[in-house]
């Protein structure tokens, strides 16, 4: 849809080139500014802008699915995670003293020079690159009918190369497991229910609250839409989950957080549901005399849409848990060793 919008703008070739050139320069500039900024908050903001510009570049390259993922996960969610970490660092006053100008300049060159040299070499290789053998795009189109979905990206992610997607879903769950492991505590049923991290609530700002109240249900609807539309157009479980998690982050920022207790068993069950459903579906096919992770043509559509639904909910739970951070230990047992 977005590519369509772009092409119907009917820009002249000159205007297109000028736009692309500007985009390329802006991307490089925001990246450089973000890396070299001596103020962390500014760096994070520039990183978010960088991500959005990058999403625009993906759109120009005709990859709206990647653009959506980049905007939702790369810019949005990563930005939120950075801001949360920054807030946490400031509250705990563990921000290291800023390095001197000379140190920072030295570091800039020490990192920048190799990056520029490596980037130049890469650019040389990339510019002289001529595909000897075409990629799999033609094959995807030819076999897409057997997957039941009409979005080729979804066909690749949930059928042709579903093993990769399964492992990526597990990576997200693993991120939560590793984060929770940072705090010594037992699993859900041990001890009293864990309090959510005590963050001093920011004062409620009436305009923000009014706005977020109206935005949140709409954004939630967008999340559901992205899941549903994924089978035929850009969208899918990861993007839907990112939008739902963003709703949570918004509520959190505006002080209306209804945080699910991160250590509660239902929350943990939801977080593992995606990986468990994916693996179980794969095994069920094996038990039915087919191949691990196979999707029979007749039921492929239903299986993909339902699995994506479970994945969207489960991934959203994982992302929300990551935004909320590790639960605090049940007992105030002093410092970590």
């Amino acid at each position: 849809m977005s590519t369509l919008a772009m092409s119907t703008l009917a820009m002249s070739p000159l205007a297109t080139t000028a736009f692309d050139g500007m985009l390329a320069v802006l991307i490089a500039w925001t990246a450089w500014q973000s890396v070299t900024s001596r103020e962390v908050f500014r760096a994070v903001m520039l990183f978010v802008v960088f991500g959005l510009l990058l999403a625009l570049a993906w759109l120009r390259l005709g990859a709206p699915d990647v653009a959506l993922a980049e905007a939702a996960v790369g810019a949005g969610l990563t930005g939120v995670l950075f801001l949360e970490s920054l807030g946490h660092l400031r509250r705990n006053k563990t921000v290291e003293p800023p390095e001197t100008v000379a140190q920072s300049r030295l570091r800039r060159w020490a990192v920048g020079l190799p990056v520029v040299v490596a980037g130049g070499l890469l650019a040389m290789v990339a510019l002289r690159l001529e595909p000897r053998v075409p990629g799999i795009a033609g094959l995807v189109v030819r076999h897409q009918g057997e997957t039941g979905v009409s979005n080729p990206v979804t066909a690749v992610l949930l059928d042709f190369r579903s093993t990769d997607t399964l492992l990526e879903v597990v990576v997200l769950l693993l991120a939560v497991i590793a984060t929770y492991g940072l705090v010594p505590h037992g699993p859900a049923h041990h001890g009293p229910r864990v309090r959510p991290p005590a963050t001093p609530r920011p004062p409620r700002q009436p305009v923000l609250v009014w706005f977020v109240r109206r935005l949140a249900p709409l954004a939630l609807l967008v999340g559901v839409y992205l899941w549903w539309v994924g089978s035929s157009a850009p969208g899918g479980a990861f993007q839907a989950a990112a939008v739902v998690a963003a709703v949570f982050a918004l509520l959190r920022v505006s002080g209306m957080e209804a945080a699910p207790p991160p250590n509660a068993r239902p929350m943990r069950l939801l977080m593992v549901a995606g990986s468990v459903a994916f693996v179980s579906q794969g095994l069920a096919m094996l038990a039915a005399g087919r191949v691990f992770l196979d999707l029979p043509e007749t039921v492929a559509y239903g299986l993909i849409v339902s699995l994506e639904g479970v994945l969207a909910a489960s991934l959203a739970a994982c992302l929300i848990a990551l935004v909320a951070g590790a639960p605090r230990p049940p007992r105030q047992s002093g410092e970590r060793p």
């Binding site: 497991i177 492991g181 010594p184 041990h190 999707l295």
Partner: protein, 481 residues
Amino acid sequence: MSLAPLLIPWAAALALALPLLAGAACFVVGGRAAATLALGVAVLSSAAGIVLTAGVEADGVQRLALAGWAPPLGIVWRIDGLAALAVALTGLIFAAVLVHAEKSLDLLRGEGLSEAFRPLALVLLGGLNALYMANDVFNLYVTLELVTLAAVGMVALAGDPAAALRYLLVGVLGALAYMLGCGLLYAAFGTLDLDLLAGRVEPGGTASAALALMIVGVMAKGALFPLHGWLPPAHGSAVAPASALLSGVVAKGGFYVLLRLWLDVYPATGAAPAAAQILGVLGTLAVLWGSLQAIRQTRLKVLLAYSTVAQLGYLMVSLPLIASAAGHASGLAGALHLMASHACAKAAMFLTAGSLIATRGHDRLADLKGAAHDHPMTAFTLGLAGMTLMGLPPSGGFIAKWLLLDASLRSGQWWWAAVILGGSLLAGVYVFLAVSWSMSRPPGEPSDAQPPPLPRRLEFAALALALVAMALGFVSAEHIP
């Protein structure tokens, strides 16, 4: 009729699925049931590896088209002798480590740590099994990411957060380099499958740049010299059972991918044998630097971590041998033997370190005096596993080094033989240091006081692994590849 067509798909799928499902379960519930489940799944995973090994033995290399799609559209798992044995051995090491961890972690840091350890270990096991069977450069990337993230989580569990963060950052940089290489390969040759790539890759700038990026990436992830800096603090500070998994098994992950690329894609790029020689020289530096640093250490776990840097160096030294025609067979067999026996031996040594820490509360070498008097079995295990590190007969390490020496002499590259022998002498020094401290008597009168208690299962878990490392010396290396 052969059973392979029936059993192999199940064994392979369960080697991934069971650890993942069990890991998810252990994230939700804990306690004794979870501990039993984790141990059972590790044993089953090892059993799946044995089934795969038998299948490969009977019917040769197996290819499983996952989701029913053949490459280049889909992904296959390739199960050869190397992958099958890796699955079997990894499950075994995990089982021993889990037996140890259930007791030692709670002794170390109080209740709760073993609960957090379990899901991480199980997801790590599933990731490793998927890594061994992967035959697609992007699938390798995803599995390597899964393994790295689980490993970082293990370091962060109770180790030094700074070391964990550095490990994560180096891992991300390595992943980026590897990913760029994947992109170049796909753009030029239209596939990610290793077998197809082996047929399609043509010599040229693109292939060389791609391979160079990917090799740098896996070197960073696998702590291969000079990108090893993150390993000693990470493995030295993690809780001992985590270090056993990291140094024993995970550290080989980077080299495993390097070997896969080396055997399949590298020959087609026509890159000069100079690349092999460069990696061999880096390996030599790793052996020297790692061993000398190990000798200087005052803590057992850090000593063992530096020893891992050195032992990974031998694996790099095996590359120029594998690249030569005359030394290919014995060089490869030697590298595989070294991976297998070092995995068991190093895991056993870290477990003994964990046992000592569990009773004494520290692993300072100078204060380990009297450890052998109090816990003879643990000290015996340390020495037994150390024999493999030194390469003394009849250990698995001896066979490995013998094969590597044979390869270097056959291919006329005697200088690598000198590295292997010199490195073994240095290994002798640091193993002797570790063992001698524990053997020496504590100052003062020998007392009849009761030694600090050490649960039996901790000692047995470590001894079992040391015995496996020894037994590998009796396994013929002929049919491993």
